[in-house]
Symmetry: C2
């Protein structure tokens, strides 16, 4: 039985103690956002996630979605949960107040997202997609479209999708074939077939607003000839109510490894009426403006599942009696000791914990900087924050997805055979977590984005937004004996990252295949160092609080212990990654294609 | 669509070129086993696996097993496939000729097992369990039981199970509660409930012979009070035909993450008639005599799935057109290049290949030594071979299971979204592979076996059976410039392994928790070095053949390139593992139980 508890104490630590929640209120437009208000929002989200969403997670997976005569039925309870979600205002959380949104910053929205994903990832895909569609419309659509669609998307009456992928193109959207033909009235007729459309069809909302990538008749070939269109399932009538059925139908749904309660649809557009969003042929740019937020959200999915799986594993490790502690029976009154006494079980639990808490803190940092990039008054601060966000986006997306998957696998392993069967819900986390490594750009694509785009951009300016804080931190705390081991470990890993960066900058500029060959290991190395940095900061923050912590002492002590575990047990992987990167492309490019 | 091809060329390389197939025939009783005969056996196994078993893999997963009124229905086609399997003599492959077996060595049996697992892992569990039961009966049961049961188990008319696990005990079999009460006629009445019994009930055979761990009334508590019993589903009548129904019923089957066509049963024994196998209270010893072979078989499951997933990924990487090569279009005639041109795709494919071929060669080596341990005339050679087999058993089981899972995940990743849906069968490999890390002793238990039992045994004598060949090899080839990089990499990793061994020997003897804390990383390090050694040997063997290879040149060149990839890209992980091991238990044992 899954039993999710929102990690409120740790979220508060990240928001208030690590990244300074009060500072958030200093940003323009956020003056009212006191720590008490933030806590109240988090508490309400926790209640919804624990009591409404989490109880539907396993049943939603078992039941899955069904396609019946073109209509997708979501699992039992999802429609009611979605209404509760809307009624609570959660669809409006981060949206612009102009359209009925609450205008809350990413720092809060991502924290809430983590809870949603931990409680019920499949459910979260429905409002998640809507939120992305909202952002694209809010930034690029003309005012008439905004007024007509945004209020209903923001309050959750309608939902949204992103229709990018087609059978012949996923990563390479330049191959999109869907066509858009302009009409005399300014609308367009859209025809083509899309696949893998999350929430493409379902029974949760009265209308579904598709954002569709398609080509205009005069489009140049490839990626520069893609435009973005808004295509509603029902054309709104003059009152804004869903009217005539538009020419888009669901022709199939996918049978997937996981997130089975999320409807992944094949959609056929046949002369569907749509409207251009943004400039002609600039559809990719319109999609990419919201990519940072979307990719961070996918990373947060990995984080949410790491936390959920950790909780399940700890509960089992405490109650499962099996064998005796290596140093002698710990509970001679019982037939065996609980398995939490075993070092190898603790290794797995601490790895999961180090991932979950490390990713949470790192997500909090990136979200905070995203807020600064959008809201700060100082243009230099804004630029640096935007640089940092752009740099960290692929790292967070790919790293968190990987670690979420690794953590949920460890969760299964703690349960042994009981993890492999459906009953405890642990194997579902693995199946659900697997998708995050794939969608919103595969992790390999994230790695290429990091080395091919973010690294060289403006001669390394983006990179400095991360490297400078790290080297400043190491410098500032040099010679503090109490933190020496921590800082040494971080320093060694950071040196490996600097070395790898120089290696790629040197080789990769001359030969893009060298950068490509290094990409995945480099992203992993980057991510491990970023987690190492945030763990060092957390350990220092916890150590500073500990003397006056009172009943919170256990929390801060655990933080310091987990930091140590991360530094000693996980961060040392940095050296091997650096060696792999240095070896270059030769071995992988030498292989003849036929020889594989 | 899954499309499995047995890796015959590489199996021949391992059997004939790397470990010397002719030498196998030098072992007593194997004089007839010429390379030509071996090849013919492999060819026939390949045909069966490709044409009969592989086509049922995806459909078996989709359909799963059903329990109807106490009877388990296997998926469509399984019964016919099982008959073909028996008719081909494959259940008898490794069995003693005394009971109708073909008496073939482990070297051949494990090669055939790899193909079965690659084609249809779930199917393979049925004959796999029978084979284990056969071995236990052949070694420990009294002659009357052997004569009554073995011929029918060997020819596949009946099948067997291993009934160990109960709800309250998996790893810790000392907690077994099933009871056996002696009867005046020498039989026993068995009562108790077992779970997770693979092939515990099914419709493939006329009878099922359960080997059951249970306690006699006078049993001492714990692991030293466990006895082994033979309990048939139907009691054979005087003609040896299935007669009266015995008191064992299937009360449920598990809904699992994978191997869904393998029936995992809950069995209730109610005054079931059984017979003692081996001495009273020595059931664990009877089970463990076949453990080396069983655990190697589980490792081979990981290998089989790594190969199957690799084949699927290569096929897709060749045909999927997406993006352009980083160094410029490779196929300007096509709308995009096949993704196999991208370094990151090649990284994934070569990782999978390095795992599959490395594990195959290592499995071949261990199987060969297992044959020597059982058959060689020279007692010193036998002892050394037995030492090596005992040492490598936990390494092979856990490492191959881990790598099989990692490889099948990479296979999904190569497919992107198309890997996450059921259609291509790639996600099934992941779900199927996951079990190998759990059953026959979790990977954590394997690691404890390695550091806690195998390492200290006879003051490190077992260890020398592996360390000596490695250091001899490095010494023998020192100063050969053509292999310098390879040997350097191996030498560095081997030094890390030696250092880690000394570390554990030092700390772990005084404090078993230190050994436990190091166990999993040590096993991984050990496994990576073992693969590094076998890859170095393969590279040298291939390099020696290359000048006269003719049309086989591509095979040997690919072998050398993959060896280089392994040494440059994977083996460098050894350093980080050594550092983690050196850090000791402190971080993971310091955490208070309540603080998790």
């Amino acid at each position: 039985m899954q039993c999710y508890k929102a990690p409120l104490r740790d979220l508060r630590f990240v928001l208030h103690e690590l990244h300074g929640g009060a500072g958030l209120a200093d940003l323009p437009g956020l003056a009212d956002l006191t720590p008490a208000l933030i806590d109240s929002i988090l508490d309400q989200a926790a209640t919804l996630c624990e009591q409404v969403l989490a109880p539907l997670n396993a049943s939603g997976d078992a039941e899955g979605c069904r396609l019946e005569n073109g209509v997708v039925r979501t699992p039992a309870g999802f429609a009611a949960a979605y209404r509760a979600f809307c009624d609570g205002g959660w669809t409006a959380l981060g949206a612009d107040p102009r359209w009925g949104g609450q205008g809350l910053p990413h720092s809060i929205a991502k924290a809430v997202e983590e809870m949603i994903c931990g409680a019920n990832l499949a459910f979260g895909t429905y409002p998640g997609l809507s939120s992305g569609a909202c952002q694209a419309i809010a930034r690029h659509a003309e005012p008439g479209l905004q007024a007509r669609y945004l209020p209903k998307l923001v309050d959750g009456t309608w939902s949204g999708t992103m229709c990018l992928t087609e059978a012949q193109c996923g990563t390479d959207l330049g191959l999109v074939r869907t066509r858009a033909v302009p009409q005399p009235d300014g609308s367009y007729r859209i025809s083509g077939n899309k696949i893998f459309i999350s929430a493409g069809e379902h029974d949760l909302t009265a209308n579904i607003i598709h954002l569709v990538l398609a080509r205009l008749p005069d489009a140049p070939p490839g990626i520069k000839g893609i435009s973005l269109f808004l295509v509603p399932k029902f054309l709104p009538d003059d009152d804004g109510q869903p009217g005539a059925r538009n020419g888009v139908i669901c022709t199939g749904i996918e049978h997937k490894m996981g997130i089975r309660a999320s409807a992944t649809c094949q959609l056929a557009f046949e002369n569907a009426t749509g409207w251009l969003v943004g400039a002609p042929h600039k559809g990719m740019a319109a999609m990419f403006t919201m990519m940072n937020s979307e990719r961070l959200s996918v990373g947060v999915q990995g984080l949410g599942l790491a936390e959920a799986s950790y909780q399940g594993a700890v509960a089992y490790a405490r109650e499962r009696l099996q064998g005796r502690a290596l140093a002698g029976a710990r509970r001679p009154d019982l037939p065996a000791d609980p398995i939490i006494v075993h070092p190898d079980i603790r290794r797995m639990l601490l790895t999961m914990r180090a991932y979950a808490e490390g990713c949470r803190a790192l997500a909090g940092w990136v979200a905070r900087r995203m807020d600064e990039a959008e809201r700060a008054e100082d243009p230099e601060l804004r630029q640096d924050a935007a640089d940092f966000t752009a740099l960290m986006t692929p790292v967070v997306k790919a790293l968190f997805a990987d670690l979420g998957f690794e953590a949920s696998n460890l969760g299964v392993q703690v349960y042994g055979g009981h993890g492999y069967i459906r009953d405890h819900g642990m194997e579902q986390y693995v199946r659900d977590a697997r998708i995050a490594m794939i969608y919103e750009g595969t992790n390999g694509i994230q790695a290429l984005d990091l080395v091919g785009r973010k690294l060289p951009q403006d001669t390394g300016r983006l990179l400095r937004s991360f490297f400078h804080p790290v080297s400043d931190f190491i410098e500032a705390h040099r010679g503090e004996p109490v933190h020496a081991a921590l800082l040494d470990a971080l320093g060694r890993a950071f040196a490996a990252l600097q070395g790898a960066t120089a290696e790629i900058a040197g080789k990769g500029m001359a030969d893009p295949e060298e950068a490509g060959a290094a990409a995945s290991e480099y992203l992993r190395l980057f991510g491990l160092v970023a987690l190492g940095f945030i763990w060092a900061r957390m350990a220092l923050a916890a150590a500073a609080k500990l003397p006056q912590a009172g009943p919170d002492a256990a929390f801060y002590t655990a933080k310091i212990t987990t930091a140590r575990f991360y530094m000693e047990r996980i961060l040392p992987q940095a050296g091997g990654l650096y060696l792999a990167i240095k070896s270059g492309k030769a071995a992988m490019m030498a292989m003849e294609e036929e020889a594989f």
